[in-house]
């Protein structure tokens, strides 16, 4: 039906949080596309809105947050206007979620098997035996022995719990899996092994992944494309290669300079001075301007629009705008 269109298309999504003294705009007009089988890394600092974006897209926001604009077209249907009942239909079957901390995301009083069977029974009529077999099968996919079906979450190690969550997400082999920093609770060794496993499964089963993280280097090995987010807006989206070799947005450049390379000459670490803006009082003009080494006068007066210098990418920066205000690099192709 839609093998040609993108799998997921987020258009101008706006999400507000209700705070004590008014509303905070956590996601401000984000547009993003994900194709089938694509591994997209969504990168940004804490509180930049990346997790909110993820949960908004899957309609899992808590009661204090609300989608106030834009749409989320998943396989041709706008998820924002669907009602809970309709959403339930496609949950887990076509779209599943892996959360940050498996210890918190797994129900402490139910066994792993029970939680998997819950998901299965909610969407498909299966005999208990068949369902159990399926649960065992997905556990095997992630390298967990099926004897652990009877275990409770607190009886598994951190790495196993996280892998169990991935297994659970694969129960119906969905088209899209959204993962929210699934490795940040693990040590480096477990992190790597989880990433490798996830990538292998992805190549094997052809699902798309949106991988939210604050750790750019972690996801760079495995992602096809990267989306960089800052203060509730997307500032750059490009293939991983391009992001690392030819970063366009000053923020991206700053992030890369903060990661030294193991090879190559020793150089001073350069962080990005300052801090992200308080989203209760967003600055007029570009949100990164106060910290931007390449700031121009116009940057603090107006918000930059979205440009596409290379055609397949996305940058939100006056340096690249063509109409209206020509940037230094507008029109320059490499």
């Amino acid at each position: 039906m839609l093998s040609d269109g993108p799998l997921l298309e987020i258009n101008d999504l706006v999400v507000d949080y209700a705070g004590k003294s008014g509303f905070v705009r956590a996601v401000d007009g984000v547009s993003l596309r994900v194709s089938r089988g694509e591994f997209l890394g969504l990168v940004g600092e804490s509180a930049c809105g990346k997790s909110t974006l993820l949960f908004a897209a899957s309609r899992l926001l808590s009661e204090s947050a609300q989608i106030v604009g834009g749409n989320v077209i998943f396989k041709g249907r706008d998820l924002v206007v669907l009602r809970e009942k309709q959403l339930r239909h496609l949950r887990w079957r076509e779209l599943s979620v892996v959360m940050q901390s498996a210890m918190n995301a797994l129900n402490p009083v139910l066994s792993i098997e029970a939680q998997m069977l819950d998901a299965i029974k909610a969407h498909q009529r299966m005999s208990k035996r068949a369902a159990r077999a399926r649960a065992a099968e997905v556990l095997r996919l992630v390298g967990i022995d099926e004897v652990h079906l009877k275990s409770y979450p607190h009886q598994l190690s951190g790495g196993m719990r996280q892998r169990a969550m991935i297994a659970m997400a694969l129960l119906f082999t969905p088209d899209l899996i959204l993962t929210d920093e699934p490795t940040s609770a693990l040590d480096v060794v477990a992190q790597r092994s989880l990433m490798v496993q996830l990538k292998e499964l992805q190549q094997q089963l052809h699902f798309a992944v949106i991988f939210v993280t604050h750790d750019m280097s972690l996801v760079s090995r495995y992602a096809d494309r990267m989306a960089i987010m800052y203060a509730g807006q997307l500032v750059e989206v490009a293939t991983t290669r391009d992001v690392f070799d030819r970063p366009q947005h000053p923020y991206t450049q700053g992030l890369l300079e903060a990661y030294p390379s193991i090879h190559g000459p020793r150089r001073e670490l350069k962080g990005i001075p300052g801090r992200p803006p308080d989203l209760r009082f967003p600055p007029s003009g570009c949100r990164f301007a106060p910290r931007c080494p390449k700031m121009m006068p116009v940057c603090s007066q107006q918000q930059p629009g979205i440009s596409s210098p290379r055609g397949d990418d996305l940058v939100r920066c006056f340096l690249y705008e063509r109409d209206g205000v020509p940037g230094e690099l507008a029109g320059v192709r490499d």
Binding site: A18, E63, S64
Partner: protein, 318 residues
């Protein structure tokens, strides 16, 4: 009866240790502002205020003496006798007003004593630690579990009709364990905080540390515990007097209930004799519970303002 919602550990922000007075003022100010904006607390204070006025100005408000057997017995309510008369011809309304004194006294004193015991045992156990802690905690748990009313009945019965003070002591001795159990974790959480370390380094002795550094920071919890203890004391006193313990010749709401019940007031035409004192106990208890609820909301911000948030959300989506 009222089940106190257990408070989490020390959610009230600990201000810089710059001296006692500013801190107490800050906490006092916080409480007052929260109380003022909270309808429940205002209602609670109002009710309590009315009763206090009744007690203090009893000679002025009550038309007659409480035990003045001057009138015809078992009269129904009338303009001269708002609540009627007892079977001995006393004016029920006057009894009610005068009885407020003893009831409030028992509640406040017994509640206060129980709170002092709670603080002493809970904080000592937390602060001294080790075997002292172990023993005190076990004692606390034992007193928590042993049912209070039967124990109180036995002790009061053995004391063979002592009167108000017997009741107060009995209530305090059985009612401290709940508070101690709540205070201990909070006191424990303070044990290792930095400002205590600085006090130790300054060379202050243990007593000073406990009284002047730790306790002022636990004021909100202690207040909540006092309210709970006072509520418990009022209900326990009413219950004990209802059974005929304490001195039945005293005048209080509880003794009115006792005499009313013994004389079958409900069925013999003066139901108000028991219903009204009982209602007053109810109201007093409710006022304390409301104030306690408000203190809970102050100390536990997650319970606060859910309705406000929901309302704000609904307005936004409209």
């Amino acid at each position: 009866m009222y089940q106190h919602i257990a408070l989490e550990e020390a959610p009230l922000p600990v201000p810089a240790a710059r001296g006692r007075r500013p801190r107490l003022l800050a906490i006092g100010g916080l409480v007052l502002s929260a109380v003022g904006s909270n309808a429940k607390a205002v209602l609670g204070f109002a009710i309590l205020g009315i009763f206090v006025i009744m007690a203090v100005f009893a000679p002025v408000i009550a038309p007659y003496g409480p035990t003045a057997e001057l009138f015809l017995p078992t009269l129904g309510p009338s303009p001269t006798h708002l609540l009627g008369t007892t079977n001995l011809g006393e004016d029920i309304f006057s009894q009610l007003i005068w009885g407020t004194r003893e009831t409030l006294l028992i509640g406040a004193i017994a509640g206060g004593l129980a709170t002092i015991l709670s603080v002493a045992i809970g904080v000592t156990a937390a602060y001294l630690g080790g075997i002292v802690d172990h023993v005190l905690s076990s004692v606390t748990d034992i007193f928590l579990v042993i049912p209070a009313l039967p124990l109180m009945i036995i002790i009061a019965a053995y004391a063979q009709g002592g009167g108000m003070w017997v009741l107060i002591i009995v209530i305090a001795v059985t009612g401290w364990s709940y508070g101690a159990r709540q205070l201990r974790p909070q006191a424990l959480s303070f044990r290792n905080r930095d400002f205590l370390e600085s006090a130790k380094v300054r060379g202050e002795n243990r007593a000073y540390i406990i009284f002047c550094e730790v306790l002022p920071n636990m004021v909100s919890l202690i207040v909540a515990i006092f309210l709970g203890a006072a509520l418990y004391a009022v209900l326990a006193a009413a219950g004990l007097q209802f059974i005929g313990l304490g001195s039945t010749t005293d005048v209080s709401w509880g003794t009115m209930l006792y005499w009313g019940q013994t004389n079958e007031a409900l069925t013999s035409g003066s139901p108000l004799w028991v219903i009204v004192p009982g209602a007053c106990v109810c109201l007093l208890g409710a006022s304390v519970a409301l104030m306690n609820y408000a203190v809970d909301e102050i100390a536990n911000p997650s319970l606060r303002g859910r309705r406000r948030r929901l309302r704000a959300q609904r307005r936004a989506s409209a």
